[in-house]
C-alpha cells in the first residue's frame, strides 16, 4: 500500500506539472496582448512607453524563461505581481479563498443532505409515481443553468422582499456571512444534489439486486432493516466517490453563481482576470483549482480504501 500511495502521489505531481505547462502555453496563445490592453486603458500611444511596459512585465523574455520564473516563484510561494492592480498576486488571491471555500462547503453539505435521502427513496420505490417525480426533479436540477437559477432567486426576492441579497460590504458577523452565503450555496447545492441523488439511486438499485439482500429478506428482516442496515451501507461507498466528481462540478457552479450574486470569491476573480488578460492571476488561479480537484480525488481514493476492506491496491 505504501508503494501504491507513493506512486499515486508522484502521478499527482506529474499531473500538476503537466497542467502548469498546458495553462502557460494556452495563455500565451491569447490574441489580445496584455501590453496593448494596459496601454489602451492608460491612453498611452507612444511606442517607447509600450516597449517599456512590455519590458517591465517581462513579456519580451523567452517563453521558457518566463515559465521557469513562474514555477520557481510558485515553489517559493511567490506568485508574481498582478498586472492590473500591480499588487502581489498572492495578496489578491489569498483573501478570496475562504469565501469560495465556505460557499463550496455549504453547497456540498447541502447536496449530500438532500441528495442521499431522496436517492434512497427513489431507489426503494423504483418505478412508482414518487420515483418518476423525484427523477424528473433531479434531472431538471441538472438541466437548469445555475446562473439562471440564481437570477430567478434574485427575481423572486425582489418580488417578495423588495431587496436583493447581494454580498455588497464586508459582512459584520459570522452569522450574517452565513446568511448571505446560504442563498447562493443553495443554488449551487441544488444542482449538485441532483447529481448526488442520481448516483445514490443507481448505486442503491445495484446493491438491492445482490444476493445477500435476498438472503436478508428471506430470513425475515424487515423492509426497513433491509433498506438501511443492509443496502444503504454498501450503496454509500460509491457515493463517496461522488464527492470527488463533485469537486470539479462545484467549481463550475461557483464560477457563474459568484458572478450572479456578486460574491468576491476566487471563481468570479478567475473570470475577471481572464477578461483583463491578467496572466499572473489566471495561471495561479487555474493551478489552484487543478490542485484542489487533484487533491480531493486523492483524498477520496484514500477514504475509499479505508472504507472498503475489499479494495487492496496492488503495488
Amino acid at each position: 500500500m505504501g508503494a501504491y500511495l507513493t506512486r499515486r502521489f508522484l502521478l499527482m505531481l506529474l499531473t500538476l506539472f503537466g497542467m502548469s505547462v498546458l495553462i502557460f502555453v494556452m495563455l500565451r496563445l491569447v490574441p489580445g496582448n496584455i501590453a496593448d490592453i494596459l496601454v489602451d486603458a492608460a491612453g498611452i500611444a507612444d511606442p517607447k512607453e509600450k516597449a517599456k511596459i512590455i519590458n517591465e512585465l517581462g513579456l519580451d523574455r523567452p517563453i521558457l524563461e518566463q515559465y521557469g520564473q513562474w514555477i520557481g516563484g510558485l515553489v517559493r510561494g511567490d506568485l508574481g505581481f498582478a498586472y492590473v492592480s500591480e499588487r502581489p498576486a498572492l495578496e489578491e488571491i489569498a483573501p478570496r479563498i475562504p469565501i469560495s471555500a465556505k460557499l463550496a462547503g455549504m453547497a456540498l453539505v447541502l447536496s449530500v443532505l438532500i441528495g442521499v435521502p431522496f436517492g434512497v427513496i427513489s431507489a426503494v420505490r423504483q418505478n412508482t409515481a414518487l420515483d418518476y417525480f423525484l427523477r424528473v426533479i433531479s434531472l431538471s436540477g441538472l438541466s437548469l443553468p445555475s446562473f439562471w437559477l440564481g437570477l430567478l432567486v434574485l427575481m423572486a426576492s425582489v418580488h417578495w422582499f423588495g431587496t436583493i441579497p447581494i454580498y455588497s460590504n464586508e459582512p459584520r458577523s459570522f452569522l450574517q456571512e452565513v446568511g448571505l452565503l446560504s442563498i447562493p450555496a443553495a443554488v449551487v447545492g441544488f444542482r449538485s444534489s441532483a447529481l448526488v441523488m442520481r448516483l445514490t439511486r443507481s448505486s442503491m438499485l445495484e446493491v438491492l439486486r445482490q444476493d445477500y439482500i435476498r438472503t436478508a429478506r428471506s430470513k425475515g428482516a424487515s423492509q426497513t432493516s433491509v433498506n438501511y442496515d443492509h443496502a444503504l451501507r454498501n450503496a454509500l461507498l460509491p457515493v463517496v466517490t461522488i464527492i470527488g466528481i463533485e469537486a470539479a462540478f462545484l467549481v463550475g457552479g461557483l464560477i457563474v453563481t459568484e458572478t450572479v450574486f456578486n460574491i468576491p470569491g476566487v471563481a468570479r476573480f478567475l473570470v475577471e482576470a481572464i477578461l483583463w488578460r491578467d496572466y499572473p492571476i489566471v495561471q495561479n488561479l487555474v493551478m489552484l483549482i487543478a490542485f484542489v480537484v487533484v487533491m480531493v480525488n486523492f483524498l477520496v481514493d484514500m477514504a475509499y480504501m479505508a472504507l472498503d476492506p475489499r479494495i487492496k491496491y496492488a503495488d
Binding site: 502521478l11 506529474l14 499531473t15 500538476l16 503537466g18 497542467m19 498546458l22 495553462i23 494556452m26 495563455l27 496563445l29 491569447v30 490574441p31 489580445g32 423504483q126 418518476y132 427523477r135 424528473v136 434531472l139 431538471s140 441538472l142 438541466s143 437548469l144 443553468p145 446562473f147 439562471w148 437570477l151 430567478l152 434574485l154 427575481m155 425582489v158 436583493i164 439511486r201 443507481s202 438499485l205 470539479a248 462540478f249 467549481v251 463550475g252 464560477i255 457563474v256 458572478t259 450572479v260 456578486n262 478567475l270 473570470v271 481572464i274 477578461l275 488578460r277 489566471v282 487555474v286 483549482i289 487543478a290 480537484v293 487533484v294
Partner: protein, 297 residues
C-alpha cells in the same frame, strides 16, 4: 400461485414490435420520459432548422421605440433594451445552441474516439502517454477548461465550438479505450488478424462498432453539457459574440438590472436553455437504459 400474464409480459419485452410505427409506440410505453425527451429534442431541432420561417422578424433588427417592450402584441415575448424582438431572438438562438452543441459534441467524439481507440488498441507507451495527458486535462473542471480555451482562442462561433469540444475529449477517450482494451483480446479480433486484415482496418471495422453503445449514451449526455457550457461561456461574455442571438448571452445582457424592470428578458432565454438540456437529458437516460443493459435501472 403467482399468475403470469404471458401476453402482457411479451408486450412489455417488445415481442410484438414489427418495426416502424409499432417501435415508436413501444418506445413511448416503455420509456415515457425518454419519449418526452425525444419530442423536446425534435422540437428543438425543427426550431433551429426552420427558425426563419417560425420567426420572420430579423433577430438583430433594433428599434429604439420598442426598447424593453412588454410581452404581447407585436412583441410576443417582449423586446430587449435595443428593441430587438425576444421571440425571434430565442427562436434563432436555437440555431446557435444546436450548432455549438452538435459541433462540440461531434468534434469531441471524433478526437476522443481516435485517441481512445489508438490508446487502447496499441497499448504500450502510447497508451501510457495519452492516459497521462487525459489525466491532466481532467484535472480542470469542464467550465474552467472551456473558459481558458475560449479566452485564448478569442470569441467566435468556431472557437466556442473548439473550446467546448476539447474538454469533452478525455471522457470519450476513456470510454472508448476501456471497451477497446477488452475487445482486442476477443476471438473475433484474432480471427480477423488470422485472415490477414491490417491492424488499422481491424480497429476501425471490428473494434470501433462494438464500442458504439456506451459512446452513444455518452454523446447524448455531452450534447446537453455542451449546450449548458455554451450558455455559461456566453453568459460570462466569453462565448458567442454580438450580434448573434445566443441564449446565454441574452441572460448576461439582461442580468441583474433587468431582474427588477424587465423579468421577461430573464425568464424566456433561461427557459429555452433549461428545456432543451432537459430534453437531451431525458433522451440520454432512456438511451442508456436501452443500449447499456448493465447500467439498466
Amino acid at each position: 400461485m403467482a399468475h403470469i400474464n404471458h401476453d402482457a409480459e411479451l408486450t412489455r419485452a417488445g415481442a410484438y414490435v414489427t418495426g416502424g410505427w409499432s417501435t415508436i409506440v413501444f418506445f413511448t410505453r416503455r420509456y415515457p420520459l425518454g419519449a418526452v425527451g425525444a419530442l423536446i429534442v425534435l422540437a428543438f431541432i425543427l426550431t433551429a432548422v426552420f427558425a426563419s420561417v417560425m420567426a420572420p422578424i430579423d433577430p438583430t433588427a433594433t428599434n429604439a421605440r420598442a426598447s424593453l417592450a412588454k410581452p404581447g402584441g407585436t412583441y410576443l415575448l417582449g423586446a430587449d433594451f435595443m428593441g430587438r424582438d425576444m421571440y425571434s431572438r430565442i427562436v434563432h438562438g436555437a440555431r446557435i445552441s444546436l450548432a455549438v452543441g452538435v459541433g462540440a459534441m461531434s468534434l469531441g467524439c471524433i478526437l476522443g474516439v481516435s485517441i481512445g481507440l489508438m490508446s487502447g488498441y496499441l497499448g504500450g507507451w502510447i497508451d501510457l502517454a495519452t492516459q497521462r495527458l487525459m489525466d491532466i486535462m481532467q484535472s480542470l473542471p469542464l467550465l474552467v477548461m472551456a473558459i481558458v480555451m475560449a479566452a485564448s482562442l478569442g470569441p467566435s462561433l468556431r472557437n466556442t465550438i473548439i473550446a467546448i469540444a476539447i474538454p469533452l475529449v478525455p471522457s470519450v477517450a476513456r470510454v472508448v479505450r476501456s471497451s477497446t482494451l477488452s475487445l482486442r483480446e476477443q476471438p473475433f479480433v484474432e480471427a480477423a488478424r488470422a485472415v490477414g486484415m491490417g491492424e488499422l482496418r481491424i480497429a476501425v471495422r471490428h473494434v470501433l462498432p462494438n464500442t458504439l453503445a456506451p459512446l452513444i449514451v455518452l454523446a447524448t449526455a455531452q450534447l446537453g453539457s455542451a449546450i449548458l457550457t455554451e450558455a455559461s461561456l456566453s453568459f460570462l461574455g466569453l462565448g458567442i459574440p454580438e450580434p448573434h442571438p445566443s441564449w446565454g448571452r441574452m441572460l448576461s445582457e439582461s442580468a441583474a438590472e433587468y431582474v427588477r424592470s424587465a423579468p421577461w428578458l430573464v425568464i424566456f432565454p433561461g427557459l429555452a436553455i433549461s428545456l432543451t438540456v432537459f430534453g437531451t437529458n431525458l433522451l440520454g437516460d432512456a438511451l442508456r437504459d436501452i443500449l447499456d443493459p448493465r447500467e439498466r435501472t
